[in-house]
């Protein structure tokens, strides 16, 4: 019997359930890693350059940077490295698929679509972490920071990366034109960097803008990150976790809805 005969005759009825999900997830993660394998070193190196670049470059704005600013900057840059991966890289790669015409094939694979999102999230995390660590190491070397790392860094990183990745993923799939997606995500990054208290303390913003940020996730991403990396720098960490968790859930729901849609 040839492999083909074996294959068609054993074609199972439609698979479903948790086992199928996990198996598909494992397979799609392998696919994503294999697909990025050649680019992976470059992307990770780039992440390190971006993280280190922000940590050092923004220091140049100051004649001599006060320690409080240096702490806000360094812990903020850790958040920035996570956000940029989720919001920029995902849309970029999905955009490439659309331009190259491989998008339909990926969506025709017989796996639950949520496994593709989950695989993408896994790969994103692998890509983002070295950049984040490098940014902190470089910042610590440059500014000699009094960092106190606690276990709460794990949920902080997880919530931030899930939210950013799923929002980027949803944009990339929901908007047909890659150019438009790219523009939106770049504007978003620009706005987040400029107008959210991530790399600088909230009191530098006008009061209305600081309050507005309490309703958005970015201030809270930075807050939980700072709580995990320093002592006594920030307050209201509990609230930040609550708000951020709500955003995380919303982003996962959004991404799930987007990938399940059909025209």
């Amino acid at each position: 019997m040839t492999a083909l005969e074996a294959g068609v005759s054993t074609l199972t009825p439609v698979r479903s359930g948790m086992g199928h999900w996990l198996q598909s997830y494992a397979m799609m993660t392998r696919w994503e890693i294999g697909n990025l394998r050649l680019l992976l070193p470059l992307i990770v190196a780039l992440q390190i350059v971006i993280g280190g670049g922000f940590a050092l470059g923004i220091g140049l704005f100051f004649d001599t940077i006060p320690m409080r600013n240096a702490l806000f900057l360094s812990t903020g840059v850790a958040v920035v490295t996570l956000i940029t991966v989720g919001l920029v890289l995902g849309p970029q790669l999905v955009g490439n698929q659309k331009v190259a015409g491989t998008y339909d094939f990926m969506w025709s694979l017989p796996v639950p679509r949520t496994t593709q999102a989950a695989a993408w999230l896994t790969v994103n995390t692998i890509i983002a972490l070295p950049g984040m660590v490098a940014a902190l190491v470089i910042a610590n070397w440059r500014y000699d920071l009094p960092l106190v790392v606690s276990w709460s860094i794990f949920p902080a990183v997880l919530l931030t990366i899930v939210t950013a990745t799923m929002v980027g993923y949803a944009f990339a799939h929901a908007i047909p034109k890659p150019m438009v997606t790219q523009m939106i995500t770049q504007l978003l990054i620009f706005t987040i960097l400029g107008f959210s208290p991530i790399n600088f303390p909230p009191e530098n913003l006008p009061e209305w803008l600081a309050s507005l940020n309490l309703w958005l996730p970015f201030h809270h991403m930075a807050n939980v990150m700072r709580a995990g990396l320093t002592e006594g720098l920030v307050t209201s960490v509990g609230t930040s976790y609550l708000v951020l968790t709500a955003y995380t859930i919303a982003s996962v729901v959004l991404a799930t809805w987007v990938v399940g849609r059909r025209d």
């Binding site: 074996a6 074609l11 439609v14 397979m27 799609m28 190259a100 015409g101 339909d104």
Partner: protein
């Protein structure tokens, strides 16, 4: 749920209509493909072939109508649709960063095969498509034709009940094209239904069991290649190569219809008029109106031209003629 081998795995599209705004990309398309059948879907660009296929695989949702495969409703259950149908799109495949054999195996496993069986099947395909010398080559370094064959192997390493192939032979060299057709035939022999999308009429004629011609979103003919040609039975094709720059010669009464593509005029005449036709053509050669002529049996291409109203080559041809 019945036993999968005993179930009737006929694919049925019933009154499938898909509109984008005012455009009716598919208009009440109804067709049926039995297990083991190689079914051709022919039509000019923009006829609605790819739109139909995307609805089968669950990438688009029909505006109305139903798509079923055996006991499964493919519209309601796109997850099942993707598991039951393999799809080779006409566009590029995402294989740039993979080695050929690796991506065939991985896709087979994603399609639900277990590792050992998929590896065996991948090696079989690689050998039978004669792409062994590239099995460890990265996708970026493959030529268009080899990429196409790798793509075919990816989606058929663990084939679905329905295998949808959109222009599978594009860019493939003639020898491997024959190997590819053998593999397509074998998919059918093993019980998969093959839905073959193409605008290469001559190739399709030799390879499909049945076919449908789709134009402007509507199915305008369906049947076996010979049943579609039956209307043309007893007719011949007289082809005239007009001297460049000369107008199309006036048609005598026995010419039933004609189409001009470039300097090529295709006429259809009754077999019994063959002698008249040759006489007329020789006269035209003598007058210097045409350079040469050829008389041959009609092919599916003639049916296709007659049915779609224009040739697939050049939509302006008729206006000039």
């Amino acid at each position: 749920m019945t036993d999968s081998t005993a179930a009737d795995w006929t694919f049925r599209a019933a009154n499938v209509t898909k509109t984008f705004g005012d455009l009716r990309a598919n208009d009440a398309v109804t067709l049926e493909i039995r297990p083991g059948e190689v079914y051709g879907l022919l039509g000019p660009n923009g006829a609605g072939k790819t739109t139909l296929v995307k609805q089968v695989i669950g990438l688009l949702k029909p505006t109305s109508g139903s798509l079923t495969l055996g006991p499964y409703d493919l519209v309601d259950d796109p997850d099942a649709a993707r598991q039951l149908c393999s799809y080779l799109p006409q566009a590029q495949m995402p294989i740039d960063s993979f080695k050929a054999r690796q991506v065939i195996v991985l896709t087979g496993m994603i399609r639900g095969g277990d590792a050992a069986a998929v590896r065996k099947r991948a090696d079989e395909l690689i050998e039978e498509l004669d792409i062994g010398e590239w099995s460890e080559t990265l996708g970026t370094r493959l030529s268009g034709g080899v990429k196409r064959l790798v793509g075919f192997a990816m989606v058929t390493a663990w084939p679905g009940r329905v295998v949808i192939l959109d222009e599978p032979t594009n860019d493939v060299d003639p020898r491997r094209r024959r190997l590819l057709w053998q593999q397509i035939r074998r998919l059918g022999d093993q019980g998969s239904s093959v839905l073959l999308v193409t605008h290469n009429v001559l190739e399709a004629e030799k390879s499909v069991d049945r076919l449908a011609i789709i134009n402007d979103g509507r199915l305008i003919a369906e049947g076996t290649p010979s049943s579609l040609k039956s209307e043309d039975r007893g007719r011949m094709r007289l082809q005239l190569m007009v001297v460049p720059g000369r107008p199309t010669p006036e048609m005598p009464v026995f010419v039933e219809n004609h189409t001009r593509v470039g300097n090529n005029v295709m006429t259809v005449i009754a077999e019994t008029d063959s002698a008249h036709g040759i006489g007329w053509a020789q006269e035209l050669v003598g007058l210097g109106v045409i350079e040469e002529y050829a008389l041959a049996a009609t092919t599916l291409e003639d049916v296709y031209i007659r049915l779609t109203g224009h040739t697939s080559e050049d939509p302006t041809a008729e206006a000039l003629a």
